[in-house]
Each structure stands twice: as C-alpha cells, then as structure tokens.
Symmetry: D2
Subunit: 139 residues, 4 copies
C-alpha cells in the first residue's frame, strides 16, 4: 500500500504569458505542465537531472492539453502532477491545473520514453527506473 504519487506546485501567471484577449495563451500550459513535472521530479527523485545523472534522457513523445477555463495576468494557480504507472518503458504524467477558487483550468497528460545519451530508444525500463518504482512501492 502506498501514497498516491502526486505533487502540487503553485505558480503565478506572468504578463508575457497572456495574449490580446487578456488570457494565458494556450501554448504556455505546456510550460506549466513541465513546471509540475519537474517539481514532482525534485520531490520524488525523478527530475531531468536525476534521469541524466543515471545516463538517460526522457524525451516527451506525446502531450495533450484540454482547456476548461482561462487564467489572467497575476492569477495564482496550482498544477497537480500525478505519476500514472504503466508496464511499458514509459513515464506517464497527468496534470490538473486549478485556480485559487478550486475551479479547474486545464487538464493534460504527457508521455515520455527513455533514450540513452545518443538518442537510442530503450525498449525496456532502465534499471534506475525499475529501482525507483520499487522504492515507490510500484513493483
């Protein structure tokens, strides 16, 4: 039995992230998701830095975002990042962004694969990732 693999981080909307309609331009949510994923990674020992220190890279191969409600300059919001376990040699994260009134702003998902530092795709999980899963109670 283990706690959900989830982390929440807070951010504030920058002026230059908003568009002529006064709302965050839709492409910037990919940045907020990456902020969430990196904050999760720092908390759980699986950030870009940890992965690279183990000799691997984890390029994003798919990204999805659904937009529910807008954010404006100066708004505070949170991104809740959840690790979704999978038997495949992949890292899957789901994201939910809320504003400070708990309104859902956006949801999304990223899928990453592992490559070595030459960009060669790993067809099975790298050993360090298996170890990480074991530590998290997933294996």
């Amino acid at each position: 039995m283990h706690l959900p693999l989830q982390h929440t981080t807070r951010f504030r909307v920058r002026f230059n992230e908003t568009d002529p309609l006064g709302i965050v331009w839709h492409g910037h949510y990919v940045t907020y998701f990456e902020d969430g994923r990196e904050a999760f990674g720092e908390a759980f020992g699986i950030s870009y830095r940890h992965i690279q220190n183990n000799g691997f890279l984890a390029p994003v191969v798919k990204c999805t975002c659904e937009y529910k409600s807008p954010l404006r300059h100066g708004d505070w919001a949170t991104v809740e990042t959840t690790f979704i376990d999978s038997p495949a040699a992949k890292m899957i994260f789901r994201y939910t962004i809320h504003d400070d009134s708990k309104r859902i702003i956006a949801t999304g998902e990223t899928i990453q694969v592992f490559t070595d530092t030459n960009g060669e795709l790993m067809l099975t999980n790298p050993r360090f990732f298996e170890d990480w899963k074991t530590q998290q109670g997933l294996l």
Copy 2:
C-alpha cells in the same frame, strides 16, 4: 467535389527554440501549429482576424502533439495544416510537420470552439462559419 482543405507553410527553427539537448523544446510545436493554422486561415479566409471581424472568438479547447523525430537550430521544416470537417460547432485542424528530407517530425490536432466577444459559448455554428463551409463545398 472539392479540393482538400489543406495548406502548407515553411518555417525555420530559431536558436531560442532549442533546448540543452540541442533540439526544439517540445512546447514550441504549439507555436508551429498556430503558424500553420494562421497561414491556412489567411489562405482560406478563416484566420483569427477574419473570425474577430465577424464578432467571434475561437479559443483552443484541446491540443494534442505527438513527437516523432527532433528538429535542430537552423533546420527548415514545413507544417501541413488540414481542416477536418465536423457537424459540431467546432473547428478541428490536423497538423503534420516534415523536415526538408520529408521525414515526419510531429503530428497534432487542435479543437476550437466559438464564443462571442463576452466569452459566451456558441452551441451551434455562427452564420459566418456556415457561409464559409458552403463556400468551401462542405455544406
């Protein structure tokens, strides 16, 4: 019978679009898709400007991107944008990005809805969009 509703535009990767791995950061593809959609819109009379001149906005409610192969600083690439017809009050576009060797770099899709300028969602197609579809041979 009508021609496919498709437009292709060419772009070059900027230095500041590439990351420490030397490849385009995955979030910038949302910009390339918007470049493709706007070039399509200019060619077919359905750009942001056309939509706003008709009194509507067309916010993106969903965006998906799949990454097949990387691009690097200075690379030339094309984004092929195709309008996907749908009975719903939505605009759906699909994108394929190729490099100059015709290798597929990324594919994606965006879904837009229509709102009035107060942000009120249109449950049926605005008249101007019906007219546009008729002109394109879709109705």
Copy 3:
C-alpha cells in the same frame, strides 16, 4: 529620510529557458526583469494593475541588459529591483540578478513612459504617480 525603494524576488530557471549551450538564453532576462518589476509593483502599489486602475499604461521605451555570468536549468536566483527617481515623466528601474552564491549574473535597466489608454504620451507625471512619489517620500 526614507528607505531605499528596492524589492528582491526569487526565481528558478526553467528547463525551457536554457539553450543548446545549457545556459539561460539571453532574451529571457527581460522576463526576469519584468518579474522583478511586477514584484516591486505589488509590494509598493505601482504594478501594471495599479497603473491601469488609474487609467494609464506604462510602456517600456528602453531596456538594457548586461550579462556577467550564466545561469543553468534548476538554478535559483534573485532579482533585486530598485526604483530610480527622476524629474522626468518616466519610471526608471535598475535590476541586479544574483545567483545563490551572491555572484552577479546580470544587471539592467528599463525606462517606462506613461500613456493614456489611447496610447497618448503623458508629457508630465500623472497625478496618481505624483501622489505615489509623495507617499514614498520622494516629493
């Protein structure tokens, strides 16, 4: 006699702010300066929001940045923002960015003017800005 009009805010370098050399791309410092200026503005009641609530805009008319030492992904840094008093109808801010070892990373300056909401340049200080200066002990 008054305290220096200065505010310090902390930020962390995002992955997508770094370039193929592994360091922050030089253009992103304009964002860090704006983060500093807005944090100053929130602390001292002179943010974009305050200025707009008074019926004015404050476009940047000049921006300078000098780069001393690089920042990398994940680095923490501070931007120290100082209001520079001037008799002209302008807002001048100076910035110093330090890393967590107190090394100077960059310095810079922005100059803003005031316009009304139609973009008409103010040749003298708006009343609200005179009032603000008085409150800060500058007049």
Copy 4:
C-alpha cells in the same frame, strides 16, 4: 572600399508575441534582433554555426533596445542588421526594425565576446574572425 556590412530580413508578428494591450511584448524584440543577426550571419558566413565550426562561442554580453512604435499580430516588419567594426575582440551589431510603411519600430544593439568551448574569454580576436574581417575589407 567596401559595401556596408548590412543585411535585411523580413518577419511577421505571431499571435503569441502580442500582449493584453494587443502589441508585441517588449521582450520579443530580442528574438527579432537574433533573427536579424542570424540572417546576417548566414549571408556573410558569421552565424552561430560558422563560429562554432571554428571552435568558438560568441555569447551576448550586452543588449539594448529602444522602442519607438508598436507592432501588432499579423504585421510584417523588417530587421536591418549592421555589423559595427571595432578594434576590440568583440562583435557589435546594430538593428533597426521598420514596419511596412517604413515607420521606425525599434532600434537596438548587441555586443558579443568570443570564448572557447570551455567558456574561456578570448582577449584578442580569434584567427577565423581576423580572416573574416580581412575578407570583408575591414583589415
């Protein structure tokens, strides 16, 4: 006697480069300057790629921008990039951005130094840069 070391490139303002006031956010001009510098570099054999192929890097150590008039989404503009000769081990470029009515939008300057690939500052011009200057009739 030689032609001025100048190159002009054209660009179009992207939607996501404009801010809630409907104009290009001031920080994006650093990107336009880099577009101009890289287009100059491709035309004159002194781009980032050429410099790196010679074993050097050319980090920007100072950037200045003065804003004269705004640009909006969809506007076409040109950036005229001029190499400013200097006896110091530096590359200095000046930029003028015009809109299609020849109105001056912005001017600016960047200063770059040379380092080796370990980041060690070159106190004198690298040989390849002396050779380039000779080819351009500057030495």
